[in-house]
């Protein structure tokens, strides 16, 4: 499994290298484009700040009240049968509805257990490989007035379940 981590170390440097080489070869004004693009990063990050404040406050309060621990204990027997850590059940459920609320829970897991712990690694993988099913479906289908979504939900849930299962498995090996 250390191979995966080893390869991971190279991904970002290689990607940067490739982009620069490609940019230079096509005679792109790379530095100007970069600084311009970086400006967009500011508006993206600052744009999500209000959401982040709201949801981190919500999750922080829930954690402090002891509710998240009680909920995990309550869910533990079911989660154990599925070989899934009970602490992550709230996150997986919330992630179906809202990415930002799930981010709040993700950060809470990082704070409580550390990003490099088993729980931290599995959550990282889950958040990296799943999408918000109900949110995405409602935005896309509502935009064109579709009410009968047929097998979309079943397919989305199947793919998400597969992502969560592989995340749990790989997280245990890293």
């Amino acid at each position: 499994m250390s191979v995966l981590v080893y390869l991971s170390d190279f991904c970002i440097p290689l990607l940067l290298f490739y982009m620069i080489v490609y940019g230079l070869m096509t005679k792109t004004d790379i530095y100007k484009e970069f600084t311009e693009g970086a400006k967009d990063g500011f508006s993206v990050t600052l744009g999500i700040l209000p959401t982040l404040i709201g949801l981190m406050t919500g999750v922080g309060m829930l954690r402090a009240s002891g509710f998240l621990e009680t909920l995990s204990e309550f869910l533990a027997p079911v989660a154990k049968m599925l070989f899934f850590p009970a602490e992550l059940v709230p996150l997986v459920v919330v992630k179906l509805f809202s990415a930002s609320a799930a981010t709040g829970l993700l950060l809470d897991i990082f704070k409580e257990y550390g990003p490099d712990s088993y729980l931290g690694t599995v959550t990282s993988l889950i958040c990296a490989s799943t999408e918000t099913i109900f949110y995405t479906m409602s935005v896309y289908f509502m935009a064109v007035g579709v009410k009968k979504t047929r097998y979309t939900l079943a397919g989305a849930l199947t793919a998400t379940a597969a992502g969560v299962a592989v995340s749990t498995f790989l997280g245990g090996m890293l």
Binding site: L4, S8, D9, I12, L16, M19, Y22, G23, T26, T28, I30, E36, G37, G41, F42, T45, L46, L49, I53, T57, V59, M61, L62, A64, S65, F67, V94, S98, A101, L107, F110, K111, G114, P115, G120, T121, S124, L125, A128, S129, T136, M137, V139, Y140, F141, A143, G145, V146, K148, Y151, T152, A154, G155, A156, T158, A159, T160, A162, V166, L174
Partner: protein, 198 residues
């Protein structure tokens, strides 16, 4: 949705905190969490700006355009009932490439345009407006299976919370994403075939 989710979180926290005698901790958490959110955003500014900057180079150098063209055979495979000259192809490809590169915000407008084009095709073929066509189901299932190759925001969060190696999860995350997309691909192919035989 968030009205209930967010409202519920705070209400439950206050009530549960009062019952368990942790009202003070709940109040403190409210104040410290909001501060933390701002600190986190400031820490993330760097990584996000680096990423959007690099992606701007990819765009300006024509790399993303090339990737979008390369999507053609993939689209043929997944959307056999979308004609090759339909604008839907370009929108779907742009949406998918933006998702793969982790530019979620840029992906959505193209995704919505793709849905509009797919709806036109649906109606032209005599389908009902309120019933999703096969192409729409395929598009959304693939989209929801998550396509993002490098989870930049997760890496930034990990580094902010003291990870020894924040990028450790890059390749494992790719494996996971590929697997969930593969499952989605098999699913839409099976459902599509069923539809044809009916």
């Amino acid at each position: 949705m968030l009205n209930y989710l967010w409202g519920g979180m705070i209400l439950i926290a206050v009530v549960y905190g009062a019952i368990t005698g942790k009202a003070e901790a709940v109040g403190n958490a409210a104040l410290s969490s909001s501060k933390e959110a701002v600190e986190l955003s400031i820490a993330m500014l760097g990584v996000m700006a680096l990423w959007t900057g690099i992606m701007k180079i990819a765009q300006a150098s024509g790399l993303t355009g090339k990737l979008i063209k390369r999507m053609r055979p993939v689209l043929r495979f997944f959307f056999p009932d979308v004609p090759a000259d339909s604008k839907a192809n370009e929108y779907i490809a742009t949406n998918m490439i933006a998702n793969i590169l982790g530019l979620g915000g840029a992906a959505t407008p193209f995704g919505l345009k793709a849905m509009e084009e797919l709806q036109k095709l649906n109606v032209a073929k005599g389908g009902k407006r309120e019933v999703a066509s096969r192409a729409m189901c395929t598009f959304l299932i693939l989209n929801i299976s998550s396509l993002q190759m490098i989870p930049v925001n997760i890496i930034a969060y990990r580094s902010q919370y003291g990870s020894v190696n924040p990028a450790k999860i890059v390749v494992p995350a790719m494996v996971t994403t590929l697997f969930s997309t593969l499952v989605a691909a098999v699913f839409v192919k099976i459902m599509g075939r069923k539809e044809k035989t009916q």
